[in-house]
Amino acid sequence: MGNNAVELKNLKKQFGEVTALKNVNLEVENGDFYFLLGPSGCGKTTLLKIIGGLELPTEGSITIAGKDMTRVPANKRNTAMVFQEWALFPHMNVFDNIAFGLRMKKASSAEIKSNVTELLELFHMSGYEGRMPFELSGGQQQRIAMARALAIEPDVLLLDEPLSNLDLTLRQQMRVELVRLHREIGKTFVYVTHDQIEALSMATKIAVMNVGEVVQVGTPKEIYQSPINAYVAKFIGEANEFHGKFITKDADTFFETDLGLKLEVGEENKEHLQADRAVCIIRPEHVKITIDKGTKPANCFQGKIENYSYMGKQIRLWVKMDESGEIVFLDIFATELDEIRRGKPVTVGFDSIHTLCFEGH
């Protein structure tokens, strides 16, 4: 109990007729780098704002650092938020921006000076005290926004897609930097994103959300390898998706797609046998081009290259299977096939343990 930085119980949020959050229960442990992951409109930002006190919940309770904060307004909560657009005060220089929260707490000027200096060092921004926000690059503004939030030494740092306004290279750099920062200062971070790569690569724990509900909570590995349903499986990574049902014949159970493709399914993936409809998900990295050598995977199909796309390190292939006409996609290295052209016959295969099966619709 006392180990939790944030606890949300039966949280509901209603905006007029619209239900933003249905019934959210979450526990964020101290020191977690906790991700709220979901598509836009799933309520993740609303949830973050509720933790920060910028929105109040319709029902339910919020406990932060062991204290009930349900009805405490944002300015009395020891949480700090970093917004997507950073929102540095445009009329204040870097020093005054970072000092803002400390001044609101009426810290002494000596304390403010030493804290700001320390934070600037932490973010490798020493010497920028006098700069105005418009004189900073995107990455620098992002760092100052983080420093401003950390200045009040919050119990929890809330981050709302802080990297989405940066270009790809800078974003990747900042991901690494944020993980380093989290490790160095050991604070609890709650981070909202729709980017599953960001979540998988940075989180200690992920809560996957969908239309106002938390669907699954787990470590990145748990979420990726054992998604709880087809939604999570598809959201967390790329996936080939086959709709169909399980069929048992001669003491053998297999998955048959609507178009008649029969798939061998691993024992642990057969829990949805009873469902009328099932969906089978196979990640592209588990699909291989099989050239007649070594052991063949359980599921092997003849097909033709329907389309391909050059992606630099790898080439993505879409293979249309002769048997059912369904298309499966996979990534191969250029060296795996001597020639890539549309219509070329190939064999694709994947093991039965890589077929993730869920209840379908």
């Binding site: 910028l54 944002a74 929102a87």
Partner: protein, 278 residues
């Protein structure tokens, strides 16, 4: 070059309807006024010297400045409250507020001023109200004094001031306020530290407009005031049309124009860097 072609009508318009009349005025103002409104075209600064050495007109000039200041002092805080309310309001409430602010602009200025004459007259509704609630025991005349003129000018300038300020307020990212609250600011602190400094360009721009408008006011002092309240603009007109000293009146007109331009120049210098805030 071809980008300039669309600008030709506008440039011609400005030349014909603004620049040429102004040049004519400058030319008049450098001439010598003769009887029956005739002008002797010489090059003399006499009209300007006469103006700046005449204590009466210096007093008028000072009064015009004071009037502009008084109207700005009244308009800035009251208009701020209205613009702020408009900014914070949503939906139907905002629409209604908007209409209330814009509505006066649909009515002719002179008509509105005569409306004030009825409102402020001894037999008017305000006088009646004061008697009804017992503040006054006889008819009160609130016309033909400085407060009446300031009130009239306030009612003219306030809509423009509110709209200018409102447009600046809408440029303030509401996230700034979220951040301020999130970092522990009270509503008051957030206003003082964030909203107010960021809205300052609007306060200044709207305030300057109010000031210039009142400084150059013509109709309001004539309708709501007595000759002792006349501004420089009224005197310029009287010089030209009543006294028929075109050069002297023109010189006064040019003085008003130059002062107005100086104020606007000062404003643009003052807030040179300010626009980058938004």
């Amino acid at each position: 070059m071809k980008y300039l072609v669309p600008a030709i009508p506008l440039v011609l318009f400005v030349i014909v309807f603004f620049l040429l009349p102004q040049i004519t005025m400058v030319r008049f103002s450098l001439g010598e006024g003769l009887t029956f409104g005739k002008i002797k075209y010489v090059f003399t600064m006499n009209n300007y010297v006469k103006f700046f050495t005449d204590p009466f007109y210096l007093r008028v000039l000072l009064n015009s400045f004071l009037l502009g200041t008084a109207v700005a002092i009244v308009t800035i805080p009251f208009g701020y409250v209205v613009a702020y309310a408009l900014w914070k309001s949503k939906g139907m409430k905002r629409k209604i507020l908007y209409i209330c602010i814009l509505f006066p602009l649909f009515t002719n200025l002179v008509v509105r001023l005569y409306g004030w004459r009825i409102m402020l007259s001894p037999a008017g509704p305000i006088s009646w109200f004061f008697q009804a609630v017992g503040i006054a025991d006889q008819n009160v005349n609130m016309l033909f004094n400085w407060p009446a003129i300031v009130l009239g000018l306030f009612s003219e300038c306030a809509p423009y001031y509110v709209l200018i300020l409102f447009s600046i307020l809408t440029l303030i990212n509401p996230r700034y306020l979220d951040v301020a609250y999130d970092l522990g600011a009270t509503t008051m602190k957030a206003f003082i530290k964030v909203t107010w400094p960021l809205s300052l360009p609007g306060v200044v721009a709207g305030g300057i407009l109010t000031y210039i408008w009142s400084f150059g006011a013509y109709a309001t002092p004539t309708i709501l005031g007595q000759p002792k309240h006349w501004t420089l603009a009224v005197h310029a007109e009287r010089q030209i049309l009543s006294i028929r000293d075109w050069p002297y009146g023109s010189a006064m007109g040019i003085i008003i124009l130059v002062i107005t331009l100086l104020i606007m120049y000062a404003q643009s210098r003052l807030f040179k860097g300010a626009q980058t805030f938004q």
